[in-house]
């Protein structure tokens, strides 16, 4: 009985999708050549595929519901394994050791290409962590994050091109420019509510890109800036091979630095204010928190990181043009934050690795890459909206008046 109705449901779904995809999947027209191609095979594929998938879909929905119920019934959330591991020192320290060793020997056992990819992934880790301050902690949806990335990249590109300034000199300048733009753009718009903020930041992101594209005198337009210097090693320019390794370690350092800073920030007076602001703005203000200033600090800090990574990006690719800073890039960074788990540092790291490395290694399916990317976003949101790692924010555990429970050492 149950089985029958399930099959009937799937059959209906399958029929519906066969209907739905009929014109696009089955018919291919070439109006230029006045040709029409009928691909009935696709219809069969869609039919069978959606029949099977609809079972899977419903099964997963049921699983999700059951999971929720279990949590309710238990009355408490399951402590995520990640937290358990991080709290168990016997497990955690060896793991950390193995990981560190792996990180250090990585560039020496793998090819330059692998190192390059890893560096790229790490860049996205840092970008994700930066955006995480804005979106995850302060709850401000920023769809134009890539604008600050562009600002950083062009800061280095232009200073290097015109004045020959090196990476190390410009890195703080890039961070500063990011922060400056964050404040300039943030100041007027931060009093807007969630979705409006999202759309205005999207607008700003596009404006920055369009200006870079059109203002030839400043930015060299769409042809971009080439021959940007790689980071120097105590004033020496390195060969390509060693530069790759050097950039990799630089990136590792930067990522560690970012994790350190973000971790400290989120367990501080400022971090608390961000989280509270995300929870309830009005109550926050009534408690004496300056809404604008606090939001601005989150926005500017996120932008600072984007600016810094922009400099790094320019130094790594040695060539920049506006095409690298499209909305899609913002969407990818945002997806990293959301996929990993908003507000969670470990989540963002894993999110970056999954979203950047997986497509890189699935090049064989390169045509389907973006298709899968889109599908993954939807599926994640439907079945695991809290991200891969739900936020296990460390809360203040009060353990007595003499031992203030700020146990984050």
């Amino acid at each position: 009985m149950q089985k029958k109705s399930e099959i009937k449901k799937s059959l209906l779904v399958s029929l519906w999708f066969m209907f739905l995809t009929f014109p696009i999947m089955v018919i291919r027209v070439n109006p230029v050549e006045k040709l029409v191609e009928w691909r009935w095979r696709n219809m069969v594929i869609v039919g069978v595929g959606s029949f099977v998938l609809s079972f899977v879909w419903r099964y997963m929905l049921r699983q999700k519901e059951a999971g929720l119920k279990r949590i309710y019934a238990g009355g408490r959330y399951k402590i995520p394994s990640i937290q358990r591991v991080s709290e168990d020192r016997r497990l955690f320290i060896p793991l950390l050791a193995v990981l560190s060793v792996f990180v250090v020997i990585f560039p020496f056992i793998f090819s330059a290409y692998q190192v390059n990819i890893m560096t790229t992934a790490l860049m996205y880790v840092v970008l994700g962590l930066g955006l995480n301050i804005v979106v995850g902690l302060a709850g401000l949806l920023d769809l134009g994050y890539v604008a600050f990335y562009a600002v950083g990249a062009y800061t280095y590109g232009l200073l290097n091109h015109h004045f020959g300034l090196g990476f190390w000199a410009v890195l703080p300048a890039g961070a500063f420019m990011g922060a400056l733009f964050g404040i300039l753009l943030g100041f007027p718009v931060l009093r807007l509510r969630g979705d409006y903020l999202a759309i205005v930041t999207l607008g700003f992101g596009e404006i920055i890109r369009l200006v870079l594209e059109n203002w030839n005198d400043l930015s060299f337009g769409p042809s971009g800036i080439a021959n940007i210097d790689r980071p120097s090693f105590f004033g020496m320019q390195l060969s390509l091979q060693s530069a790759t390794v050097y950039i990799y370690f630089l990136m590792i350092t930067l990522a560690l630095f970012t994790v350190f800073v973000v971790n400290r920030l989120q367990n501080s007076r400022i971090g608390r204010a961000w989280i509270a602001l995300r929870e309830d703005e009005i109550a926050c203000q009534a408690m004496g928190i300056d809404k604008t200033k606090t939001k601005l600090s989150a926005f500017a800090l996120g932008a600072t990181w984007a600016g810094m990574m922009g400099v790094f990006f320019a130094a790594k690719t040695t060539f920049i043009n506006p095409a690298s800073f499209t909305f899609l890039e913002s969407a990818i960074i945002l997806s990293i934050v959301v996929l990993g788990g908003m507000g969670s540092i470990a989540g963002v790291i894993i999110g970056a690795f999954v979203l950047i490395l997986l497509p890189e290694y699935l090049r064989a399916f390169s045509d389907y890459r973006m298709l899968m990317f889109g599908a993954i976003l939807v599926i994640m949101m439907v079945f695991r909206p809290q991200g891969i790692i739900s936020n296990v924010r460390r809360t203040y555990k009060f353990e007595g008046i003499n031992v203030p429970g700020e146990k984050n050492k």
Binding site: K69, I71, Y72, A73, G75, Y77
Partner: protein
């Protein structure tokens, strides 16, 4: 008429109802009293199908309704006046009333019913073309009750009709509630903070604590029950 059997409902990660049994007979006014957070509103929302019960059964006139969608439940004759009134702010008073009759198709008797509720609450007649949001608190409560009546319910669920109203208005509204029950023979399920007032109009009462029914009796006896007096009547 309405029967809740061991209803358990989860709300967020809190179990709001921990096995509730309630029975309402035709033509009665019953009241459910208890402190905030005891699960009174959740009980009503479970009956209306807004929050689906995790387990347990709800029967209305013998039919199980715990797996029905809210609109089906309304069509069976259960209307609710939710806590906080929930007037459609931008719709006019008339439109609000028409929304109350959303599932009905009998045009003529709809206009009859509108006349009826205007008779109950004459002030609404003056306000008929005003947007719901511009009404005062008391008027909104009247509109909310009228809207619920527009569905011609057999069972009317009222959630905290006295909330935030001046004592004067509260008195008026409770008078009308009694009137609806006696004139229209509408069964009424009343949830109230103000236990004193509620028990005065109701025939029977249930006392709820922490998601469980702890006491069930006729109103008179509840009014004189020592425990109830102490905890809910503040005597």
């Amino acid at each position: 008429m309405l029967k809740l059997v061991n209803v358990k409902t989860f709300y967020g990660n809190i179990q709001a109802l921990k096995g509730v049994d309630i029975e309402v007979s035709e033509g009665e006014i019953i009241t459910l009293i208890g402190s905030n957070g005891a699960g009174k509103t959740t009980t009503l929302m479970s009956i209306s199908g807004i929050t689906s019960p995790g387990s347990g059964e709800i029967f209305f006139r013998g039919r199980p309704i715990h797996n029905m969608s809210p609109d089906k439940i309304v069509s069976l004759g259960i209307s609710q006046v939710p806590e906080g009134r929930h007037i459609f702010q931008k719709l006019t008073v008339m439109e609000n009333l028409h929304m109350g009759a959303f599932l009905r198709t009998d045009k003529d008797s709809i206009s009859e019913d509108i006349e009826y509720v205007f008779g109950l609450f004459p002030i609404l007649t003056e306000r008929r073309h005003q947007a719901g949001g511009t009404l005062s608190g008391g008027e909104q409560q009247m509109l909310a009750i009228s809207r619920a009546l527009m569905a011609r319910p057999r069972l009317l669920l009222l959630d905290e009709p006295s909330l935030g109203l001046a004592p004067k208005i509260v008195k008026q509204i409770f008078g009308i509630i009694r009137k609806i029950n006696s004139e229209q023979k509408t069964t009424i399920f009343l949830v109230e903070q103000n236990a004193n007032l509620a028990l005065q109009v109701a025939h029977r009462g249930y006392v709820m604590e922490n998601g469980k029914i702890v006491l069930e009796d006729s109103s008179d006896r509840l009014l004189s029950n020592e425990a109830v007096k102490k905890a809910y009547l503040g005597l």
